[in-house]
């Protein structure tokens, strides 16, 4: 075994140990599959887009009110997904407005991305969004056995904000999404906060800081 091999093995072992230390954020008290789903964190759809992009996309209204996914959960055509994502730009734009309202200094949120899930449409929606780098994906409606929307949002802010402001932002995002967000990650230049929504039924516990990093990276 070469020194490189040894080094890779050793560092890989460290990564494995680290992974075992990451707590499982699934809500307590919800046994079975539902608890798994309720706690599922969604991958972040990293389509970088200036806030101006979703705001501009708001003007693109196809008039669709329903997502392109049927009761059967069949994956819709790529065109339908694209149209749906453009449609939901309204919601993204609203969120951007709320962010700006909550923290005027952070008006220039650099990156915002939504990712939604709805049965079989999920993968296709991701692929569609990745093909359109300036498109901002949004949440899709739940499919059985989901009883709530699962969505996450990730925003990079250009400057810092105090904790109260950050909390306000998270709450605004949550309420603005109609309670559909289950995870909110706010990236500031020096800190990263993740808010997890433990329950859609209890607005009093809408946001909880579960992770604070001081390096501004992740």
């Amino acid at each position: 075994m070469t020194r490189l091999d040894e080094h890779l093995h050793d560092t890989a072992e460290e990564i494995r140990r680290f992974a075992h230390l990451i707590p499982d954020h699934r809500p307590v008290g919800q046994p079975g599959r539902r608890s798994i789903l309720a706690g599922v964190a969604l991958a972040v759809l990293g389509t970088l887009a200036l806030v101006a992009v979703p705001l501009a996309l708001r003007a693109f209204d196809t008039g669709r009110d329903e997502p392109p996914v049927g009761e059967s959960g069949q994956t819709p055509a790529a065109d339908d997904i694209e149209a749906y994502l453009y449609d939901k730009a309204d919601l993204i734009g609203d969120l951007a407005d709320w962010v700006a309202e909550a923290d005027g200094r952070s008006m220039a949120a650099e990156a915002s991305a939504w990712e939604g899930v709805a049965g079989a449409v999920y993968v296709s929606a991701t692929q569609a969004a990745e093909e359109h780098r300036e498109m901002v994906a949004t949440s899709l409606p739940p499919q059985p056995p989901f009883d709530r929307y699962l969505a996450s949002i990730r925003i990079i802010f250009t400057d810092g904000a105090d904790e109260a402001t950050r909390s306000d932002i998270a709450r605004l995002l949550w309420s603005g999404s109609g309670g559909r967000l289950v995870r909110i990650t706010l990236l500031f230049h020096e800190t990263s906060l993740r808010y997890e929504i433990p329950s859609a039924d209890d607005p009093a516990v809408t946001t909880t800081i579960i992770e604070v990093q001081t390096d501004g990276d992740d």
């Binding site: 999920y122 990236l187 992740d218």
Partner: protein, 179 residues
């Protein structure tokens, strides 16, 4: 069945309705795999859960596969590469907007590990996947080939190239201290 904790559990071992067991058994290792490829802690959590959720959605089919874990591992390694690239874009955006960039240190792993695996992540996509599966998952070439859906020979080629590149870069970066 590959190892003691049953990460490569067969359909029989996984059981009819034992997704919870599958989840608990696989989650930490999927996070490790995702982190190795993506370099993002929160991102690796999301990637692992995302893959597990996708598994859950199609559990009736996936649990009948010869190797359900390989299916979810493939999802993770594929999406992790994209996640890493997106993360780089975000960091660049921060630099562009702020005009400065504080030194980043990943708190949970040592600086050496962070450094080495950042070098790994600079490799071509397939090489990153092969290295991560080989070292983090401790898979044989045959097992890596199964997860990635390629031949064993292809895995061997990618791994050899990755090692050569890493050895060269490491030597150039710090010939005295790097392996």
């Amino acid at each position: 069945v590959r190892n003691d904790d049953g990460f490569h559990g067969s359909t029989q071992r996984v059981g009819q309705d034992d997704f919870e067991h599958f989840y608990l058994r696989n989650r930490p290792r999927l996070i490790a795999l995702a982190y190795a490829v993506s370099g993002s802690r929160s991102g690796s959590e999301d990637l692992a859960h995302d893959a597990l959720e996708a598994t859950y959605r199609d559990w009736d089919r996936i649990r009948r596969l010869d190797n359900p874990a390989a299916w979810v591992q493939r999802i993770v390694v594929n999406r992790s590469v994209s996640a890493y690239r997106r993360r780089l874009c975000e960091l660049k955006a921060l630099v562009r907007l702020r005009g400065e960039r504080h030194a980043i240190a990943f708190p949970e792993v040592s600086g050496e590990t962070d450094w080495l695996w950042n070098e790994v992540r600079r490799l071509p996509r397939r090489q990153v996947q092969v290295v991560a599966l080989t070292y983090v998952e401790e898979m044989s070439m045959v097992e890596v080939a199964e997860v990635l859906g390629v031949s064993k020979e292809s895995v061997n080629t990618h791994l050899r190239r990755a090692r050569n590149t890493l050895a060269r870069r490491i030597q150039i970066t710090n010939p005295e201290e790097r392996p």
